[in-house]
């Protein structure tokens, strides 16, 4: 039996009838139409599908849409504000934190949570906190630099 769910994504309210087995990532991409959230592995490993659910970074390929009923969601499409890149996005631009860009939305949302929890992380802390996000291109060095750039910018330095 289908279920009615209500969620807020990037500040906009949505309400849909969904099958209980619909994964949250498919809901976001195929029902709502926000395709910035990627599916990399589909097996909870790669983090390409990372979003913030009530402020927590989660892999939405490993969650049902019905579990998210009532939640506030932030996806990559909601990270820039008023046409201005978020400092984390700017960091990835300035420090070449991406090549193909497939992992980038997930990386940015994982970094978003990290900088909320720890505004001035060490390099080791950044690497440790990206354990749930795989990148096949960059070798991670520039991703770390991008996040360091963002941390400095957000601290007003």
């Amino acid at each position: 039996m289908k279920r009615q769910i209500k969620v807020t994504i990037n500040g906009v309210g949505y309400s849909h009838e969904v099958e209980p087995r619909l994964l949250l990532v498919h809901y976001i991409r195929d029902v709502v139409g926000l395709t910035g959230t990627h599916i990399g592995c589909d097996t909870s490993q790669c983090g390409a599908c990372t979003i913030l659910l009530n402020g927590m970074a989660i892999k939405c390929c490993t969650m049902l849409a019905v579990q998210a009923d009532g939640a506030e969601i932030l996806t990559i499409e909601g990270v820039a504000k008023d046409g201005h890149l978020h400092p984390i996005q700017e960091g990835f631009w300035e420090k070449h934190g991406l090549q193909c860009g497939y992992c980038t939305p997930g990386m940015i949302l994982a970094a978003y949570q990290l900088l909320q929890r720890s505004p001035n992380p060490s390099e080791a802390e950044i690497r440790h906190n990206l354990e749930g996000n795989l990148c096949r291109c960059t070798g991670y060095h520039n991703i770390v630099k991008s996040i360091q750039y963002a941390a400095q910018k957000m601290a007003g330095r």
């Binding site: 039996m1 209980p20 097996t43 970074a57 892999k59 490993t62 049902l64 019905v66 579990q67």
Partner: protein, 261 residues
């Protein structure tokens, strides 16, 4: 990949969830953080006809001191354990263990109760729970009962929980001030599950010792031989080496059998 079809239930209380379990029996699965169950459902290794979502039932998460023990609600996430200042102060073994599970995203969703109830032979908490001498509180149609951790893990993905019982709380007895505790894990490079993980708790006077091992068999076990070889000894290099060799012979290493991890 997506799961086979199922009916979704979201009971508002533990009692309601228990009566659903009683009615739907083997066709039903509880859903907590979903980070073991949903991957299995996507692979169709699990195809429950009914899924009972308990994640939003109030009162089942949180960490508090309760009559000399520390009580951890079943729905407490790995992240809440990892970042708990009460646990850092009173039971650092659990914060350390929680911090080694998966990655930050997994720790935001996965729950203590889900991990213990799932009883993955490579899960991290079981080793810590055994070393600490934890108790598991289960609630069923006849009320609550307490299960000692040594009686809880029965085998591969099997526990002492009855089909109509819900794990509601984990209780950690208090250990004296100055007790040393540590969890060391050899993580699988891809999944980060423990190829083998060892938790050890030793009081300052060396008399009381708890050692739990995960990943090395079909279920986590108490390393009784190691405990006996350590207790009451001065912990110098020779004593520790002798203790490490005292693990019981049946504790072979099954890493090859579990290559899917």
């Amino acid at each position: 990949m997506y799961p086979a079809q199922f009916e979704y239930h979201s009971p508002a209380s533990v009692q309601e969830a228990i009566s659903l379990l009683g009615r739907l029996k083997d066709d039903a699965k509880l859903l907590a953080g979903g980070h073991s169950l949903i991957p299995m459902m996507k692979l169709r290794l699990a195809q429950p006809k009914h899924v009972i979502d308990i994640r939003k039932i109030p009162g089942l998460s949180g960490i508090k001191e309760d009559g000399g023990a520390i009580a951890i609600g079943a729905l407490t996430t790995h992240y809440a354990v990892e970042s708990s200042s009460l646990l850092k102060q009173k039971c650092a073994l659990l914060t350390e263990t929680a911090g080694t599970i998966g990655d930050p995203q997994v720790r935001n969703m996965g729950t203590v109760g889900g991990s213990l109830a799932h009883a993955d032979p490579a899960a991290d908490y079981p080793a810590a729970a055994i070393a600490l001498g934890a108790e598991v509180v289960a609630e069923g149609p006849k009320g609550k009962r307490t299960i000692k951790v040594d009686d809880f893990f029965k085998g591969l993905l099997t526990t002492a929980l009855q089909p109509d019982e819900i794990l509601v709380e984990i209780r950690i007895p208090s250990w004296p001030v100055g007790t040393g505790m540590a969890y060391m894990k050899f993580p699988h490079p891809a999944s980060r599950f423990a190829v083998v993980g060892v938790a050890a708790v030793v009081t300052a006077d060396g008399k009381k010792v708890g050692v739990g091992i995960t990943g090395a068999g079909t279920k986590a076990v108490r390393a009784k031989g190691v405990e006996a070889a350590l207790s009451g000894k001065t912990l110098d290099a020779a004593a520790i080496k002798a203790a490490a060799e005292a693990r019981s012979p049946q504790q072979g290493f099954l890493a090859n059998e579990f290559s899917w991890r």
